[in-house]
């Protein structure tokens, strides 16, 4: 095999995820079933080889839990706001396409940020420029330059949250210098 | 109480489905129709979830997942197809 081997540590999140899916599909979390799922997931990861996702090697669960909770709160808020907009404003709604340049150049982080933004109703990724890691968002109910600024700040704060969870040390350094400046 | 909840959600889901079907039939473009079909599938999945919650079984859970994946594959395929077909006349 001429392909570059990736270490087990990098592959571990994928394997754990596959085992969880296996258990969930059988709706059976007994040790024997999980063991068989683990064997199967190793076989799958070896046979159906995909380009490895480059993880930064750190994952901070202390930041992940509050991030997930604020994400849920944001989704609820935005959904209610969208419901109100659909009923009250309807056809007269104003939109904007906004470019946001992210700090990170990692594919995984850019993708994760785009996912989180798209999942919050009211903003949507239309186009991605990978070379400069710029997201072009279509956002609902943007009527003034102030709203555009608010949206950009929110996107950057989401990205900051994701960097704290799983960014590299360099990105954390950027965050720190930004905070002090 | 669960019977009342079932009736209320049934009415809400029916109204939502009617709205999505109106958009499918009226939708000015193909993408509008795809989007409305996606929403209709989501409504169907939601209705299955309510049925499972009220009657306390899990028989349809994988069906809900399958429905969402079908919606995903369908809209991605159509979106790619539309983007490819429309670009050619614009260029020439």
């Amino acid at each position: 095999m001429s392909r570059r081997r990736i270490s087990l540590r990098q592959e571990l999140p994928l394997l754990v995820w596959l085992v969880i899916v296996w258990g969930a599909l059988w709706q059976d979390f007994s040790p024997g079933n999980l063991l068989f799922g683990a064997l199967l997931s190793v076989a799958v990861a070896r046979l159906f080889y995909l380009p490895p996702v480059e993880l930064s090697g750190r994952f901070n669960i202390l930041y992940a839990v509050p991030f997930a909770l604020t994400f849920l709160a944001k989704v609820v808020m935005a959904s209610m706001q969208l419901l109100y907009l659909a009923v009250s404003r309807g056809p007269r709604v104003k939109n904007a396409v906004v470019a946001v340049t992210l700090r990170s150049h990692q594919d995984l982080l850019v993708t994760a940020t785009g996912h989180v933004i798209s999942l919050i109703p009211g903003s949507l990724v239309v186009e991605v420029d990978r070379s400069t890691s710029t997201l072009y968002l279509h956002a609902l109910n943007i009527s003034s330059p102030q709203d555009v600024e608010n949206l950009k700040n929110e996107v950057l704060s989401i990205e900051a949250g994701l960097i704290r969870i799983m960014g590299t040390r360099e990105e954390l350094e950027i965050l720190r210098t930004e905070a002090t400046a | 109480m669960m019977q009342i909840v079932l009736a209320v959600t049934a009415v809400i889901f029916s109204l939502a489905a009617v709205g999505a079907i109106i958009r499918i039939s009226r939708g000015p473009s193909l993408l509008d129709r795809v989007l409305a079909t996606d929403v209709l599938l989501a409504i169907l999945g939601g209705a299955l979830c309510v049925d499972m919650a009220v009657n306390r079984h899990l028989n349809n859970l994988m069906l809900v997942v399958a429905i969402s994946i079908i919606g995903f594959i369908g809209s991605v395929t159509v979106a790619r197809f539309v983007a490819d077909r429309r670009e050619q006349p614009n260029e020439s």
Binding site: D129, H138 | S29, V34, I43, V76, A79
Partner: protein
């Protein structure tokens, strides 16, 4: 499992009933948004709502009603599948919609992508011209 309407059990029932009704309302909101918003990209915002929050609430109500722990991982996996697929399809449809001009320009207060797209199109046209000779 007969519903003895005392204490915790009743509260769990009430909570799941609220979840179900709010989750169903999300679908209705999406339908209203589909009917009332003016262009494709605004409608897309409405469409993501029942798929994310609505499904979350309905799955949570299933979990509350079943009252066994092993359904929660199953429901979580179902929801995470949804979270992974919804933005991708929304992005694909949105991108196709933007490129095929399915939006009303007069409704946009600012468009920071248009200049970039035009520049790229001009560059592509130039390269096509030089490639043909």
């Amino acid at each position: 499992m007969s519903p003895d309407s005392t204490g915790l059990d009743a509260w769990v029932d009430v909570l799941s009933a609220v979840f179900m009704i709010v989750g169903a309302t999300m679908s209705l909101g999406a339908a209203i948004g589909l009917l009332r918003f003016p262009d494709l990209l605004s409608r897309m915002h409405a469409a993501t709502k029942p798929q994310v929050l609505g499904l979350f609430l309905l799955l949570a109500s299933i979990g509350l009603q079943m009252r066994t722990w092993w359904v929660w991982p199953v429901l979580l996996v179902a929801w995470i599948f949804q979270l992974l697929t919804v933005p991708v399809s929304a992005h694909m449809v949105g991108r196709a919609g933007y490129r095929t001009k399915h939006l009303h320009r007069e409704l946009l207060t600012s468009d920071e992508l248009e200049a970039v797209v035009q520049k790229a199109a001009a560059k592509a046209a130039r390269e096509d011209g030089s490639g043909d000779g």
